[in-house]
């Protein structure tokens, strides 16, 4: 068991030259078999392993990660957290996660730097204003906070914002979710890994799943990996952009495609940007990290790809929008850009469900916006695996909803990402 972090332990670390820190989880080697396996060591998979051990008493669990934990989209995203989605199924799903974020640092004894600094979503035309109002009222009915700001109120909330009428797409107002905000991406992966490890979970890196073995009845019995066969009759796949690749190993086809999504950060500057601002219409979203970098998200490329890089014209488009909305940033220099592979469903809602294959479960389709859901997705995947049945909160997020015409069409509702 690792020592607990506290104000005193940090002070002591500081006084002793920060030399006393130990590894925070074991580098486990695979055992012959486990009661449950999670494929994919992103935030979602690590959280699922933690909740399996913590809430369902299933502690003989391994997380198999082909690279290093948090090296996928968890470590590549722009960390926007919010729950102001339109449909009841979605807002309760995402709000479940926001509620877990609120106490996550205490829960894990690890500072995930959750910062509810407010997410302001801008409206630039009549349609935007109507859609925002519709969201605000739907959220209100579902007990999720979201309020309308006039341009002057938006400017007061976010002083760098240009609300001048000379803009090609002037700011006509915005919807503010005060409980929304950001968190530290790596800390979420590390915090869950450390807490899961302390409960006995094996975290196995550099372990790529290459096959799924099934018995005569079709049920899963083991995974094949580059580190040998690992047995388990309960396997949860949480592989984000690679979900179709892994599920294909059991002959399961999914309604999703993988696209590169980009982000970029500027050189670090002093605190200037107090919240998160998103604009779906001109496609820009931006916040400032605690290190001082402006964190800017661009859109997906037009085509499916696994290359983890995006085209330059895509980020250029976003930078043009950012410079228009925040003229003060026109001469900022960008430090680096990168891409991740996001798993996009036709209705832009996730799948957290059983699959047609007994013992095989899937958590995927979070696309461009699943970081915010990390604690909730892990919690619900663990529940679904432990009960062999979905929790009421994820019962609607099945694969079969596409066959049955029961889409949860957040895509049509707002064309929103993130």
């Amino acid at each position: 068991m690792r020592s607990r972090f506290s104000g005193w332990s940090l002070l002591l670390g500081g006084l002793t030259g920060q030399r006393g820190w130990r590894e925070q989880w074991r580098a486990a080697t695979p055992k012959k078999g486990y009661d449950a396996l999670i494929v994919g060591g992103g935030g979602h998979g690590l959280a699922a392993a933690y909740y399996l051990a913590k809430e369902h008493g299933i502690r003989n669990v391994a997380v198999l990660e082909k690279g290093w934990i948090g090296g996928g989209n968890t470590g590549r995203n722009t960390t926007v957290i919010r729950s102001n989605y339109l449909f009841s199924e979605s807002s309760s799903l995402y709000d479940h996660a926001v509620k877990l974020w609120e106490t996550l640092s205490q829960e894990l004894n690890y500072n995930v730097m959750y910062s509810p600094r407010g997410v302001l979503m801008l409206a630039h035309n009549v349609h935007d204003c109507q859609v925002s109002q519709r969201h605000i009222h739907a959220n209100y009915a579902n007990g999720v906070d979201n309020e309308w700001l006039t341009p002057a109120q938006a400017k007061a909330y976010c002083p760098p914002l240009n609300i001048g009428s000379e803009l090609r797409y002037p700011v006509l107002g915005g919807a503010l979710q005060r409980r929304g905000g950001t968190a530290r991406h790596d800390a979420v992966a590390w915090g869950y890994a450390r807490a899961a490890d302390a409960l006995g979970v094996d975290i196995i890196e550099n372990c790529e799943v290459t096959g799924l073995k099934r018995d005569a009845n079709g049920a899963v019995v083991a995974v094949e990996t580059n580190r040998g066969v690992i047995e388990s009759r309960r396997i949860g796949v949480s592989a984000a952009g690679h979900s179709t690749v892994v599920l294909q190993m059991a002959g399961v086809r999914l309604p999703l495609e993988s696209f590169p999504l980009q982000a970029l950060v500027s050189e670090p500057v002093k605190p200037i940007f107090p919240c998160v601002v998103m604009s779906n219409t001109i496609h820009a979203y931006i916040s400032q990290s605690d290190k001082g970098e402006l964190v800017i998200g661009a859109s997906t490329d037009a085509y499916t790809s696994y290359t983890q890089r995006g085209a330059l014209h895509v980020s250029l488009h976003t930078l043009e929008a950012v410079c228009e909305l925040f003229p003060a940033f026109r001469r900022m220099r960008m430090l680096r850009n990168w891409g991740g592979i996001v798993d996009v469903t036709p209705d832009r809602s996730p799948i957290v469900a059983k699959t047609p294959v007994p013992g095989l479960y899937v958590n995927c389709g979070w696309g461009t916006g699943g970081f915010k859901a990390t604690p909730g997705a892990g919690h619900l995947l663990a529940w679904t695996m432990a009960h062999d049945a979905p929790h009421p909160l994820n019962a609607a997020f099945t694969i079969e909803r596409f066959r049955d015409g029961l889409l949860i069409d957040e895509a049509a509702a707002a064309a929103v990402s993130h």
């Binding site: 309604p255 495609e257 993988s258 037009a302 085509y303 499916t304 696994y306 085209a311 596409f402």
Partner: protein, 85 residues
């Protein structure tokens, strides 16, 4: 940005094109089952490797055609006209 070989016009920058998704998807008969319709409508191969896909030369000749692109490198392996394989 990709350089895409339009079989009618030659190699042009990606900005002249729009993406049309997976190629060679056949529409089922009207008598098809709900599963078959769902597969047609929503399931995609999402290949990691050579992927046959449609592109349209929107800001050029306007025509649809097919491309095979390796999705692990984005390298375009070949392009060919609609109706060809």
């Amino acid at each position: 940005m990709l350089l895409i070989p339009c079989p009618y016009c030659g190699v042009r920058p990606e900005l002249e094109f729009s993406y049309g998704g997976q190629a060679h998807i056949a529409r089922p008969q009207t008598s098809a089952s709900a599963e078959e319709w769902a597969a047609f409508q929503y399931e995609r191969v999402n290949t990691r490797g050579p992927h046959a896909e449609r592109w349209r030369h929107t800001h050029g000749c306007g025509r649809f055609f097919n491309v095979v692109r390796d999705t692990t490198t984005d390298q375009i392996l070949r392009s060919y006209r609609s109706g060809e394989r």
